[in-house]
Amino acid sequence: MTEPFLSIRDLRKAFGSFVAVHDVTIDIPRGEFLTFLGPSGSGKSTTLYAIAGFQQPTSGDVLLKGRSLLSVPSHKRNIGMVFQRYTLFQHLTVAENVAFPLRVRRRPDAEVKRKVAEMLSLVRLESFGGRYPGALSGGQQQRVALARALAYDPPILLMDEPLSALDKKLREEIQAEIRRIHRETGVTILYVTHDQDEALHLSDRIALFRDGRIEQIGSGEDLYLRPQSEFVASFIGNSNFLPAEHLETVNGAATIRLADGSVVSGVRNDREFRHGQKTRLMVRPEAFRMRPGPATAGLAVEFIDTAFFGERRRVIARTAAGQEIDVRPTSDMAQAQEGIAPRGQQIFFDPAAAFLFPA
């Protein structure tokens, strides 16, 4: 087997008695865009800083092409990094900022000049070379930071929530830039964010962190369509959790009883539950339909409120058991747009697209 490009092995970081990162292991192939996603304090940034060399891990190893990085000081790791806060050198112009890593490497002037021009055109700031960072917007500053981080062709680029200081519209714009730059340069990117949309938009794979451990790692689709835990299901996308009693599971299809007494069969399940065990049924808001389909289960609800969001409509419904659920029908828009329906309305979902989790 060929060894992975970048390998994080049993990485552990403890601050006193608090363990920030619990034995994290990931193999990252060359050219991958991997995102560390998770709530704050979940260990994702600590893992990134261990790769950058700013945190000395308690145990474990970080290997680049089979060679351990841990004994290499930060400035010799040849890694690119874009930080959460603006880190341009204020006393240098944009071009001098991008040239900085090449200057400390004592590269010849001609090469520095050529590389700076190339990098500024990569981030589309060709005409900004002579300006000072103070005269740039936040988005432009982060693009310069990106150019600076890539100027010395690092094998890995680390990005620590680089867009969190920007507003939503700008964030989306620069996300597209980052995707393009990843495509054009083929650099391996490790990206940290707490924003699931950003992670889904950018990444080849997402490692979802929780309490210092990787809860699940896989493509965005994997995490969305096949969440392995309630935490993953609730962190990625929106979800409704209905209390359900497990009756039996045959060949990976469970039969359950919902709080209103209705029995649903055909729910996908690969866990072992006892008869009568309390579980939670997860249904995505967009998995609900207004009309019954071939294998759908019905749920009696009362529509309480509806809000229009342009591309879709959000409906708040209340189940017979009194639980409020979030419904975002993707089809049957016409019906949904009729607004609040009278009592006794039924909505429908495909049990095979729902998940059963331990309560």
């Binding site: 950058a52 400035h75 990094m81 806060r85 880190t87 050198f89 006393h91 981080a149």
Partner: protein, 266 residues
């Protein structure tokens, strides 16, 4: 707000008057000294019977005054350089360091500012006499460096606290060694603090008189010591002239400082 200036009413006039009185109290002695240095009376009489430049003539004719001024400048420059270098290193430790007794160390380094100067002067005088530094330029510079250190540490730690360490980290990730990153990125970023430190440290030594009296010898006198000595011998208007020049130099230094600071912070 309770104390909104715009809503003070008649109190505003009272406040203005009081502020004016305080300012006059602080400034009038300086004004009188300057006026007296141009007065023709030998006895520092006010108002002066006439105006003259002869005290300045006398001042510049006496090489002892010029020598004292040069000594002051030399000692203040060396003390300022030492205080800035030591203060810079100390500030990195105080701001970045995570060690026990950090706050104690900070307090210790700032004590020269709160300790009664005369106590410090007697202590260091006795100590320097014993180790043979009394009356030497080196002793003078060391004593003034200690006094100037708080004035260097305060602006530098403030600048360093306001500097985002991520920027230094970014330079390190870019391939600069930690030392190179500090030299090429951190120092330029806190240059205003360093500049202020140098000016304040220089002034702390330049017009210091108490420690200077203890450190001085007949051959090594700073300007304030010379003024003090002359004052005790004869109350000549030459002293007023020397004092006026001292004030003028300090004042121009402050003005230049604020101009440069304004330019740097752009």
């Amino acid at each position: 707000m309770l104390l909104d200036y715009d809503r003070l009413g008649w109190l505003r006039a009272a406040l203005l008057g009081f502020t004016g009185l305080v300012a006059a109290f602080l400034l009038l002695p300086v004004v009188f000294i300057v006026l007296l240095s141009f007065g023709s009376s030998r006895w520092l009489a006010f108002p002066p019977p006439g105006w003259t430049l002869k005290w300045y003539e006398e001042l510049f004719a006496d090489p002892a005054w010029l020598e004292a001024a040069l000594t002051s400048a030399r000692i203040a420059t060396m003390a300022a350089i030492l205080a800035v270098v030591i203060g810079l290193l100390a500030s990195f430790a105080l701001v970045r360091g995570q060690f026990r007794g950090r706050n104690t160390l900070r307090g210790l380094l700032l004590t020269p500012m709160v300790l009664p100067v005369v106590v410090f002067a007697i202590a260091i005088y006795a100590f320097f006499l014993r180790i043979g530094l009394g009356g030497t330029t080196a002793g003078f510079v060391i004593a003034h460096t200690v006094l100037a250190l708080p004035f260097a540490i305060i602006p530098i730690t403030a600048a360093l606290e306001g500097f985002d360490k991520s920027i230094e980290d970014a330079a390190i990730v870019c391939g600069a060694s930690p030392f190179e990153a500090k030299l090429r990125v951190t120092l330029p970023a806190i240059k205003i603090g360093i500049f202020s430190a140098a000016i304040f440290a220089f002034l702390a030594s330049w017009d210091e008189v108490v420690v200077a009296i203890f450190m001085a010898s007949p051959t090594l006198q700073t300007l304030p010591v010379k003024i003090w000595g002359s004052l005790r011998q004869d109350l000549s208007p030459v002293i007023a002239a020397a004092s006026s020049l001292l004030v003028l130099l300090t004042l121009s230094l402050m003005i230049v400082t604020s101009l440069i600071r304004r330019k740097l912070s752009k």
